[in-house]
Amino acid sequence: MSTQLETRAEIVKLARLLGTPADQLGYLERAAPEDLRALREQATDRLFEGDQARLHKLALASRILPATIGATIARWALGALLSARVTGLLVPSKAVDIAAHLPASFLADIAVELDPRRAREVIERMPAWQVGEVAAELQRRNEHVAMGRFVGYLGDEALVASMEQIDDAGLLRIAFVMEGKDRLDHVVSLLPEGRLAGVMHAADRGGLWPEALDLLDHMSGERQGDLAEIATAEGLLPNLTEVAHAEGLWDTILPVIPHMTEASRLSLARLPIVENRDALAAILDTASKHDLWAALLPLVDHLPAGSRDTVASLATDFDHTVLARIVTVVGENDMWSSLLRLVALNANLQQRLVPVVTAMPSAARARAASRARELGVLSQLGPLGPLLS
């Protein structure tokens, strides 16, 4: 997620906690999201601790009373904010009993105010059907930020019930702001077949590609490959890559390439954007910054001739360190055929590689020479030919 958007999501959460309109906290937009999150947790603890004794008394009183009366008091005397504060202090089974007598709309009000860290056991014990009802209510209110705080605390059954109630665009928005994204791959694994295609179309329709790319970034390699297949099959790759370029998010796309099928790689390599010199420069720059050469090189094989010429030409601007790194990665992954065919296209690049190849261990040079002979390009490598052989 971009830092700016992450900061905005944190401001929304902090505003809710402080009972202040989010636009009055605009001065926090320069703050780092991790600092705002730490502040929110400090403020949450302070608000809780400040009235802890009286909140405990309310929790204690609930033990004496039947759940129906507890629910009446929660709804008509405490209201959502104080009910949220008390929830984590209740005996979890009692909290769930009380919740059973409350309408989903009020439970949604509580959810918006609740600190999930303090009510983990209550959240875990809530019946899935009821969590689903609350999710539906929160979806109606577009409370994606609030829902994003709960994803990490819900069991699989409750997650499935919730996701059934949330539309495809809503799922993307929640995933984008959710806390504990290390769980996102598992959450996505719970979606029924076909839902991911809907989610990606929702990204396309709703201008939510940055959110979809963030989702992609948090998936396992296998699921990244699945998503890439869906994007290819559904004809969504052009728009996805246009946005990746416009938003400077190639670092999300490139790691997916090794998990794509050859057919999908070919589709990616033949997109109009990959013929654009600026886009190719951005891709190479990203590969350099994030050391993604091993991911990128399989794509280079599939590029149209004009784009391969452009890549070779752009590579002549790389400094010695970058060229040396590429050669190292190529050697480690036996990607000589990809590199040699590219180098054969550009005399300047061949010249720039002379010091790098000279410094290569003899075994690596022999391996490269062998590959060059197999490809029939040894004689097209200019000064590198004699160095290799």
């Binding site: 906690l17 402080l18 009972g19 202040t20 906290l25 001065y27 926090l28 320069r30 703050a31 780092a32 991790e34 600092d35 705002l36 730490a38 502040l39 400090q42 403020a43 302070r46 608000l47 601790e49 400040g50 009235d51 009286r54 909140l55 008394k57 309310l58 204690l60 009183a61 004496i64 009373l65 009366i69 009446t72 008091i73 008509w76 005397a77 405490l78 209201g79 904010l81 104080l82 504060r85």
Partner: protein
């Protein structure tokens, strides 16, 4: 406004030092505004709790009221 005053006001409301990165990214007035917002939220919550405890008793059936009042008040 003294830089330290804003940071101290926020630390006082939080009961602990705010994140250092946050203190560095805001000016003293903004830190004071944040401290005031938290102070207001605390007071609002406390007042709401006062009202809620009184109101809660009104919803408690007579048979439980004495015991609940003993716990709450």
């Amino acid at each position: 406004m003294d830089f330290n005053l804003g940071a101290s006001a926020l630390a006082s409301e939080l009961g602990t030092d705010p994140p250092s990165g946050l203190v560095q990214s805001l000016n003293p007035e903004q830190l004071q505004t944040l401290a005031d917002s938290l102070g207001t939220a605390k007071r609002r919550q406390s007042q709401a709790l006062d009202r809620a405890i009184t109101d809660a008793l009104a919803h408690v059936p007579f048979v439980f009221r004495g015991a609940v009042a003993l716990v709450l008040l």
